[in-house]
């Protein structure tokens, strides 16, 4: 190998070394974990800081007043709807029912509460019969229109009556509120997530 060939090889080696160094310099910036990746994140939208979930006391489908304080120590999945709802509410209830099934014995530490936006048709007894078809452990809550509106306002939930006939409906907030064992409103799951996402988030809440 003559001098020029050696020189060529040296230049090549130097370029490769420089390239390798550049990659090494670039890598830490490019692969730095995001702040959210360092701690487990929820599938639902999370609040920071989490405040106390607004409590309420409404007649329940189980024959007792429904309050959040009564479920302290459990993760509460709170949703609003009405039993004559054609699509959204049955889907939500089926999803939450499936979530409890997937959780197995862990579901004992989870309470689903369904607050009606249609007290005219959703009596406590009617709620009990309707909810039992999904999961008999789901508790329904009803009350006077004023009391229910006050609860909705605390959560930013809207419910607008649509139609005047016997088949009237409601356009309403379809999200599910996730309340931890200490009664903090930690997150809100928009409509459309599957049971696996709820299982994921419930486990995070149960872990602390």
């Amino acid at each position: 190998m003559n001098l020029r060939s050696r020189l060529g090889l040296l230049v090549t080696a130097a370029i490769l070394l420089l390239f390798g160094a550049a990659v090494l310099i670039a890598l830490p910036r490019g692969t730095a974990p995001s702040p959210s990746a360092s701690s487990p994140t929820m599938k639902a939208g999370m609040f920071t800081p989490a405040h106390d979930a607004p409590d309420f006391s409404l007649p329940g489908s189980n024959g007792s007043p429904v309050t959040l304080a009564g479920y302290r120590g459990k993760v509460v999945l709170l949703t609003f709807g009405f039993t004559h709802c054609a699509a959204v509410c049955p889907t939500t209830l089926a999803t939450l029912s499936q979530t409890r099934k997937l959780l197995g014995s862990e579901a004992n530490a989870v309470q689903v509460i369904f607050v009606t936006v249609d007290p005219e048709r959703d009596s406590a007894d009617h709620l009990r019969d309707y909810l039992a078809a999904f999961d008999p452990t789901i508790v329904g809550a009803t009350g006077s229109p004023g009391a229910l509106a006050a609860v909705r306002a605390k959560y930013g939930v809207t419910a607008t009556k649509q139609g005047d006939g016997a088949d009237y409906a409601f356009a309403h907030t379809s999200s599910i509120f996730l309340i931890d064992r200490a009664g903090k409103l930690r997150a809100v799951m928009p409509f459309g997530h599957d049971p696996a996402d709820f299982v994921h988030d419930v486990r995070l809440l149960q872990a602390g």
């Binding site: 060529g8 090549t12 370029i15 730095a32 995001s34 939208g45 930013g156 928009p190």
Partner: protein, 146 residues
């Protein structure tokens, strides 16, 4: 007199440079995208509600927010106002942040009291696919075009 042209030993250098360029292009086109933060942060400033109730037009953030899966796919709303604001599924209290991740490319329409017309659209685009799309995305990012 004859002149013998000696071949210059540039071939190894050219090959090395070629390999480096090809490697860089291949990496840029195929390597998974990693970013420091997925958060797209928007703040509802203090005084928004007061300004709006006094009849002032307040444009806080765009009517449509565009996110990209795997790149910027977490919407963070901070409420620095003195009153609660409704954003889509929930009420955000003063001083509180709401961090909503997206895992599906779609268009989402939310109610939002921080907007003059009370609504906010979030368009979530799919992440740049491996290949030319990802390569172009990296080039645009490098040149500051996106």
């Amino acid at each position: 007199m004859s002149i013998i042209a000696r071949k210059r030993p540039m071939r190894p250098v050219a090959i090395a440079l070629g390999l480096i360029v090809l490697g860089a292009i291949g990496w840029a086109a195929l390597a998974p995208i990693r970013v420091v933060s997925h958060d797209a942060v928007y703040e509802i400033p203090h005084g928004t509600y007061a300004a709006r109730t006094s009849g002032k037009k307040v444009d806080i953030f765009p009517q449509t927010i565009r996110l990209t899966l795997g790149v910027k796919d977490v919407l963070v709303l901070r409420n620095a106002d003195s009153v609660p604001h409704i954003f889509g599924p929930t009420l955000i209290m003063p001083g509180q942040s709401f961090r909503l991740p997206f895992e599906m490319a779609s268009t989402y329409s939310f109610e939002c009291t921080a907007h003059p017309n009370g609504g906010l659209n979030v368009i979530v685009d799919p992440g740049p696919a491996p290949g030319p799309e990802r390569l172009l995305w990296r080039l645009r990012r490098m040149t500051g075009a996106s």
